[in-house]
């Protein structure tokens, strides 16, 4: 075990993946000698050479187009998009190409080796172009997997699993806690399962569900609720699609209540999908409406960021509303 922050855990996972498989190749804007603007790819060029870790020209659609081709050739590209806000120029290469590559060819060709890493989320005074949480934009795209880790230990295990998963994966890294989230991380190679939610705390009154940096607010809200004698079950969804319906259903059948939180705007966010699915499957078990605590339906603001964020206080209030419905 070693103490690592989330960035170091990502860097460590990339290092292990590259050491173990010479087909793993890391690239993106400023990813090479400099090691990325957040330094997630530090020292990888030194260790594995310019052929396997390099800067690309500044063109996201090209980065992912290139990555798709490289993956179809049998390599294992790990492409970085510098900020999730800048993933949209590559949207076509992701949803029309990567996601449909295997299906359209009847499995003659696939881009299963592809992983796209990108820092997402707010809370860093970044305004609307350094704060977005675009996971739901990808959630209506069969063929993609979307993964979000909540801490260093999860980040390493989930990233290694994503790189080795035989399907294209978008790996969203919670940049607000890149350095703030520090924890014990095994030094060796390990994987954590995709499409498997984790019950991080058991409880009986209400199920609280989140992913990524939002798990921190969930914890804080839980502590407030605990003082009121409310017993919360906390679940980290970890993989957004294909998501682990069974674990959430089992929990809600037990608690009778569900609250989902994410940073992205509420309308069209993935909480809507979860809510719809759970009310289909747990209708007779629900004691109150499934609650969503999410970003407002505006672009991500700057000066009013604190007000905008779905923080622990908003979650706590929503927990109480659900319990006292």
């Amino acid at each position: 075990m070693a103490k690592m922050n989330l960035l170091q855990a990502v860097n460590n996972a990339l290092d292990i993946a590259m050491a173990q498989n010479s087909k793993v190749i890391c690239f993106g804007e400023d990813v090479g000698g400099f090691g990325g603007v957040f330094r997630a790819t530090s020292h990888l060029q030194e260790k594995y050479g310019r052929d396997r870790c390099f800067n690309t020209p500044l063109v996201e659609q090209g980065i992912i187009g290139f990555a798709n081709g490289l993956a179809s050739q049998g390599s294992v590209p790990v492409a970085e998009i510098q900020f999730a806000d800048y993933i949209f120029p590559a949207f076509d290469q992701i949803v029309n190409e990567a996601a449909k590559f295997r299906y359209r060819s009847g499995n003659l060709f696939d881009v299963g080796g592809l992983t796209i890493r990108t820092p997402y989320g707010g809370g860093i005074a970044g305004g609307h172009y350094h704060s977005q949480s675009p996971e739901a934009y990808f959630a209506q795209t069969p063929g993609l997997k979307v993964v979000v880790p909540r801490n260093p230990h999860q980040a390493k295990g989930l990233l290694l699993a994503s790189i080795r998963d035989p399907n294209p994966v978008i790996f969203f890294e919670p940049k607000r806690i890149y350095r703030a989230s520090v924890g014990e991380v095994p030094e060796e190679d390990y994987e954590l399962p995709l499409s498997s939610a984790e019950v991080v705390k058991e409880g009986s009154d209400i199920t609280l569900l989140a992913w990524g940096a939002q798990m921190e607010y969930l914890d804080m809200a839980d502590q407030l609720a605990e003082k009121d004698g409310i017993s919360c079950e906390l679940i980290d969804l970890r993989t957004i699609v294909p998501w682990d319906i069974e674990t959430v259903v089992a929990s809600v059948k037990k608690t009778g209540r569900l609250l989902i939180t994410h940073e992205a705007p509420v309308t069209g966010g993935f909480a809507g999908e979860i809510s719809a699915t759970i009310q289909e499957r747990c209708f007779l078990h629900l004691e109150s409406p499934i609650a969503r605590v999410a970003g407002m339906d505006t672009p991500y603001p700057l000066a009013l960021e604190k007000e905008y964020i779905p923080d622990h206080l908003k979650i706590y209030e929503a927990i109480k509303r659900s319990i006292h419905f």
Binding site: I25, V59, F66, N68, G69, R104, S105, G106, L108, K145
Partner: protein, 394 residues
């Protein structure tokens, strides 16, 4: 700092005009099949020359027959490549058969050359159970892993940066292979084109960009597609080797591709070839070109038929006769029709294929969705006649 620019300095204010940059067209054969004086002729063996010509003939016949079949309502859609066979067969012949081809959709000639059988074509065109693509894409979206021919994808130009990536992988693999990506002059307007060429130059990748400039993108003539002297000058803007060839001249296309491949593989440098031709047929079976161009223009180009030019050259070489030629056409027509009749009878794939290949294995939710669908079809077997009879054989 390196700005990438050289240091020549001037003190007079002088704009360079875009039309100062013009690129000539490389041409070997006259339309009567005889070479131009002093022309660089490629080194082409008789067997290869005949393989090329036969592939051109098969492509021509296939296109004719399948459009007719579409008109008869036997298949839903078709795209002809008529007039461009010199380009699509000629480039393929210049490659190693294991080089990767990532094409647009009008390059059936290359597939024919590599040996994709008529049966393989038909199974795709009829979306039957033997289609490698499992009946999931529209007709003409062929692919073959054994022939190193990437499955066609409709969104234009997406294959171009993918080719750069594929070729990068080939470079690291070090097996001396390259990738050729083919696209239209229309597709070259997409952002992906720019990304692909620039990345290929910077990353020094063995990829050949083959642009089929056939004058139109559906109804849009190339003078509404770009204002410059075609596509080739763009390659110079990326510091790339480039050449323009007469796309109706099989030998010119072949010779240029042989040399392009040498540069790509030996120097790990990308090359662009712009092949000038004309789309003699409609854009697709859904299109009627009389709405946007004249018969006269079409006829002018019809007189430059690439098959004719190649045939005349073969005659001059004494490698082929008029008699052999008409026999070949007859035989091809018969074979195409016979294969068509077999393929159109075959059933479509099983219902289970609806959910395979979305991921490497179907997620639980998708399996549930399939089960619900099966239960539903059992309730209404007559409403889903293609699958209801065979739900449990998946």
């Amino acid at each position: 700092m390196k700005t990438g620019t050289k240091d020549r300095v001037v003190h007079k204010l002088n704009f360079i005009r875009g039309d100062e940059l013009q690129i000539p067209t490389y041409k070997v054969l006259k339309q009567d099949g005889s070479p131009y004086k002093g022309a660089t002729l490629p080194d082409l063996e008789q067997s290869t020359a005949l393989r090329i010509y036969k592939a051109m003939v098969r492509t021509r016949v296939l296109d004719e027959r399948m459009l007719a079949a579409q008109r008869q309502g036997r298949l839903s859609f078709y795209m002809q490549s008529t007039g461009e066979e010199a380009t699509t067969v000629g480039f393929a012949a210049a490659l190693d058969d294991e080089d990767m081809i990532m094409a647009q959709y009008r390059e059936q000639g290359a597939l024919v050359y590599r040996g994709f059988t008529l049966d393989e074509f038909m199974n795709q065109l009829f979306s039957n159970e033997r289609d490698y693509g499992k009946g999931r894409q529209m007709p003409i979206h062929y692919g073959s892993s054994k022939l190193h021919y990437m499955t066609i994808s409709s969104p234009l130009a997406t294959q171009i940066p993918q080719a750069t990536g594929y070729a990068y992988g080939q470079k690291l693999a070090g097996e001396g292979k390259c990738t050729v990506t083919v696209f239209g002059e229309g597709a070259a307007s997409e952002g992906d084109f720019h990304a692909a060429l620039n990345m290929a130059s910077v990353l020094k990748v063995p990829v050949i960009f083959l642009c089929r400039n056939n004058g139109y993108a559906i109804s849009t003539p190339s003078n509404e597609q770009f204002a410059a002297d075609g596509i080739a000058p763009r390659a110079l803007g990326y510091g790339m080797h480039t050449i323009r060839v007469d796309g109706n001249d099989t030998l010119a296309v072949y010779a240029a591709t042989v040399e392009a491949r040498r540069i790509a593989v030996e120097q790990n440098e990308p090359v662009l070839i712009e092949s000038m031709s004309y789309r003699l047929a409609a854009h697709s079976s859904s299109d009627d070109p009389s709405g946007y161009r004249s018969k006269k223009e079409e006829e002018a180009w019809a007189s430059k038929d690439p098959l004719l030019r190649m045939k005349q050259w073969l005659f001059l070489q004494k490698w082929w006769t008029e008699e052999e030629d008409s026999k070949l056409f007859d035989a091809e027509r018969r074979e195409v029709l016979a294969t068509l009749k077999e393929a159109e009878k075959r059933p479509i794939c099983k219902l289970d294929e609806l959910i395979t290949d979305v991921y490497d294995t179907p997620p639980t939710l998708l399996v549930e969705q399939l089960d619900q669908l099966k239960a539903h079809i059992r309730l209404y077997p007559d409403a889903y006649p293609k699958t209801s009879g065979d739900l449990d054989h998946g």
